[in-house]
Amino acid sequence: MIIYRLEISGSIYSWRGAAWIITAASIFSLVAYLLLTDKELSLLDQGEMLFTFSEVIIVLGLVMSGINSSSSISTEIEAGTFECLLLTPIKHVQIAIQKMLSTVTIWIVLYLISIPYLIVLANGTNLAISAILYVGLYGTLLSIAISTISIALSWMLKTSKNSIMVALMIVLLLSAPSLFFATSLRKTDFGIMLENINPFSHTINSLDSVLVDNQQAVYEQFTHIWPVLVFTIICSIIFLTFTRKFEVKML
């Protein structure tokens, strides 16, 4: 797990590496503070507040996972250190898995930071545990999916600029129907079809149903959980296929 430890130490030990954690905490602070102190925003029901905050956590986690993992292999290639990495006595796929695990760890750190905010926002309701568990479940599954597909892209495209751009486009494509489409468009056949195949839409709809409609049981959310799970498995298969063997002659 040397590569994993190196990646994590780079993201946490130095000031520059840890700046993202402070920024993420500041964003959470700002959103939570506004939700609970602004007169108009505070008119929202607590379920709506939690739902809005959960959306912020998931989107921030996805963007960070996408950017972090899409530059993981291509940065090594650009810096000329990839050959040295391949000389280490571990399988190529293990290098990729360790890179993926470091990204998922970053998501977990982000998620742990968000927990106190979720508890404060859910104060006085029975939604705190559900919010924490469902955000954790969906965030972890989507983070794994986005990291695996982004690492595969990073190897295929070989330049950080291109791989980051494509990864961000994937994140935007996934989040577009839920965040940018109007309700009327989402109710058309096209919108319904997009929502049915989009794992991010399932995540948002599930959080809406748990936190706003109070349907907290797992069996009630199973219709939303399995598409996200299938998406993660598909991304993992793509990841394993492309990272099985890194060919140095192609560099």
């Binding site: 840890a18 905490a25 602070s29 700002l30 503070y33 609970l36 505070s42 029901d45 106190p116 109070n214």
Partner: protein
């Protein structure tokens, strides 16, 4: 001066003519008005006409009721519901098929019962997307003499004054008007979730603790590597 006096006489003549015309017209108008009032009284007293009027005012309602004898009514104990934003209320309704003749083949009917909430202040119907998971209830069939209890869980999303009614659209006749219940009032009081005392320690505390942790880690690492002596 002569010319002026001529003018005066001319204008006086013409004025006299117009007054005469006005008097004639006003008489005609008064006659017509009396005639109209008289005719309308006559029409109201005549029996077939009020039926026509009542059919015009609520054609489908009465016709469908008389054909199907379907009745829907909200059975909440109170006519006015007072509740806070964010709370859940249950709207109970009863769909009754008052027809007693069970012999005919097509005696049972089906349809969709749905809830309608209207914002009195904004004068708009409420989009029920966040208010209720089940907006409509499909009723495959209801037999003569049967009574179906219906209920809707409604989450109170926004403060304000609303009216709630329940409607039933019959499947058999697509052009019939819906059967409507009487309305009940809903008063949703606002609930401010202002909680600065609770959020402030977390909002300022979490970033401060993180800065402290990473500052300490960085310092310890610097001490080890010789950056800080």
């Amino acid at each position: 001066m002569k010319i002026i006096s001529n003018k005066i006489t001319l204008s006086e003549k013409s004025k006299g003519n117009t007054i005469g015309k006005r008097i004639n017209w006003s008489f005609i108008c008064v006659y017509l008005l009396i005639l109209a009032i008289g005719l309308s009284i006559l029409l109201f007293c005549w029996s077939p006409i009020p039926i026509a009027f009542s059919q015009l005012s609520s054609p489908g309602l009465n016709s469908s009721f008389s054909e199907n004898a379907l009745r829907i009514n909200i059975s909440n104990p109170s006519q006015i519901i007072h509740e806070l934003v964010g709370k859940y209320i249950i709207v109970y309704a009863n769909l009754n098929y008052l027809k007693t003749d069970k012999t005919s083949d097509n005696s049972s009917i089906g349809g969709i019962a749905y809830i309608s909430i209207v914002d009195i202040k904004d004068r708009v119907p409420v989009d029920l997307e966040d208010w209720s998971v089940e907006k409509g209830l499909y009723i495959p069939s209801i037999s003569p003499g049967q009574s179906l209890p219906l209920e809707w869980n409604v989450r109170l999303v926004k403060a304000g004054s609303y009216t709630i009614s329940v409607l039933f659209n019959e499947n058999r006749n697509p052009f019939s008007s819906p059967i409507v219940s009487s309305r009940i009032n809903l008063e949703v009081a606002p609930k401010l979730n202002l909680n600065p005392g609770n959020v402030l320690p977390v909002a300022f505390g979490v970033p401060a603790v993180l800065i402290g942790i990473f500052g300490t880690l960085n310092y310890l690492r610097g001490r080890k590597t010789g950056v800080y002596k």
